[in-house]
């Protein structure tokens, strides 16, 4: 009997890897992706990048121009993400198994979460551009909607993980719903939620750049501008600045995490 379980598991793994192999080979054939050419062109790209795509002394002149743009993008991401977090908190409380008020609210908020989570931010930007045209508001809303779905889901799982025990205890003392949320659920799940929020801000600064290319705002717009003018030195400086910003934000949020967790 015991042996059977192990054999079964081994066979299961084998089947899984075979399926993966077939899937991967199948996709290569269907898309006519040339593996060898793919790899050789990587080296070509690296050589081209090394000889053209680097900031030179002359490109530094654009710094005063792009710093305000960078700042705009960073602040926009932070604002959109934090506002989304507040709404996500409400939705996750309504959606979580342990804190939901009734089933219908729960299903609705889970539905909103998974709908918003499965639409890529770029798609949001395209759709929103129809109504708001190329403006900072479009970027703001695209980031807001994209974050809302993800954060609701993450917060919901955090609340579920905190579990039922302390909720049960407070219910038994006669505490009301809001007492329980503010005295047990939030204190227990806040650090993990803040950690998710920081992660979301990090990714959103990256995504905001891409959205900026589309909506013609922020640092993404600067990049697009220099790139289309074939000013590769300036464009590469923009990329470098974005990378540095993201790393700095990551370092800061890692420190915050260490303190709160």
């Amino acid at each position: 009997m015991r042996d059977d379980i192990f054999t079964k598991r081994r066979n299961g793994n084998l089947v899984f890897f075979l399926a993966l192999l077939i899937l991967s080979v199948g996709s290569i054939i269907i898309t006519e992706y040339d593996v060898i050419k793919g790899f050789t062109s990587i080296t070509k790209a690296v050589i081209w990048g090394g000889s053209n795509f680097y900031p030179d002394a002359e490109s530094l002149r654009i710094l005063p121009e792009i710093f305000p743009k960078l700042q705009e993008t960073v602040l926009m991401s932070i604002a959109a993400t934090t506002v989304a977090a507040v709404l996500a908190l409400v939705l996750s409380l309504a959606g979580s198994q342990t804190t939901r008020i009734n089933r219908i609210f729960s299903i609705v908020s889970r539905g909103i979460a998974s709908l918003f989570r499965n639409i890529p931010i770029v798609a949001w930007a395209m759709v929103l551009m129809i109504s708001f045209s190329q403006s900072p508001l479009t970027g703001y809303l695209a980031i807001f909607f994209g974050s809302l779905g993800f954060l609701t889901r993450a917060f919901m799982e955090t609340i579920d993980e905190v579990g039922n025990n302390s909720i049960e205890a407070l219910q038994a003392t006669g505490a009301s719903y809001f007492h329980i949320i503010f005295q047990a659920v939030l204190p227990a799940s806040m650090p993990q939620m803040i950690s998710w929020l920081l992660y979301m801000i990090e990714t959103n600064i990256r995504d905001a750049t891409l959205v900026g290319v589309l909506t013609g705002t922020g640092i993404g717009f600067s990049f697009d501008l220099y790139y289309k003018r074939f000013d590769y030195h300036a464009a590469s400086l923009v990329v470098l600045l974005i990378v540095i910003t993201v790393i700095v934000i990551e370092l800061v949020s890692n420190n915050v995490r260490r303190v709160i967790l």
Binding site: N165, S166, E168, A169, L170, Q171, A172, T173, G174, A175, S176, F178, H179, I181, F182, Q183, A184, P187, A188, P191
Partner: protein
Amino acid sequence: MALLELKNVTKNYNNECCALDNVSFSVDKGEFVSIIGPSGAGKSTLLRCINRMVEASSGEISVDGVISSSLSKKKLRKLRTKIGMIFQHYNLVDRLTVIENVLHGRLGYKSTLAGVLGRYNQEEKSQAYRIIEILGLNEQIYKRCDQLSGGQKQRVGIARALVQNPKIILCDEPIASLDPNASKIIMDHLRNISKEMGITIIVNLHQVEVALKYSDRIIGVNRGKVVFDGAPCDLTTRQIRDIYGSESEDLIFELGERHAG
């Protein structure tokens, strides 16, 4: 008049038969009652029907003269303030300090806003300090609960129940996760609470010898039915066999030792 009275209480989960089957008994002020029975007998269900954490399917339960089944939400909260509850897994909010967890016992008396903000008046605070001192937790008062030992956590659980100024404390296997030393401390505290403060204690136990040592009265439950209800000295080997069925042999052995010793 009895403080707690159960009349023909029956509970079916999901229309399956019968977690509780026609249970009737009454308990007086200051009594120390142990409920014993095999796993799945319905002990936890019985306890939770008393404060309506579980709704009984039929029958009548009155606490301190109030029939609980028909109460509105608000009146139920008020009733629950009179019934403390402590748990096998302590059910504290681990990230909060001892004093914060203890004061949670006051939430049942609070308005929504005061409870949400965690505002407690001076009287409530000094009562909490007094109780913490009685339970020997002075040194841990500002420690976070995830830094406490199991025995200390359970004492926080008892303190939280006591600040409710309850008439009854329900204990669901309070010592099942503790070593013998910590168990003795907890059981001694519970006995003092019933003898000195006149608070009724109802405790689910799976150690017969502990029940025999501490209780004024033992209620034996098997498959949702009360099969024994009497003083510890009246509990015979035969009756233990009735309560525990086939699991009873080693329990009877322990009991034999007690009579010999």
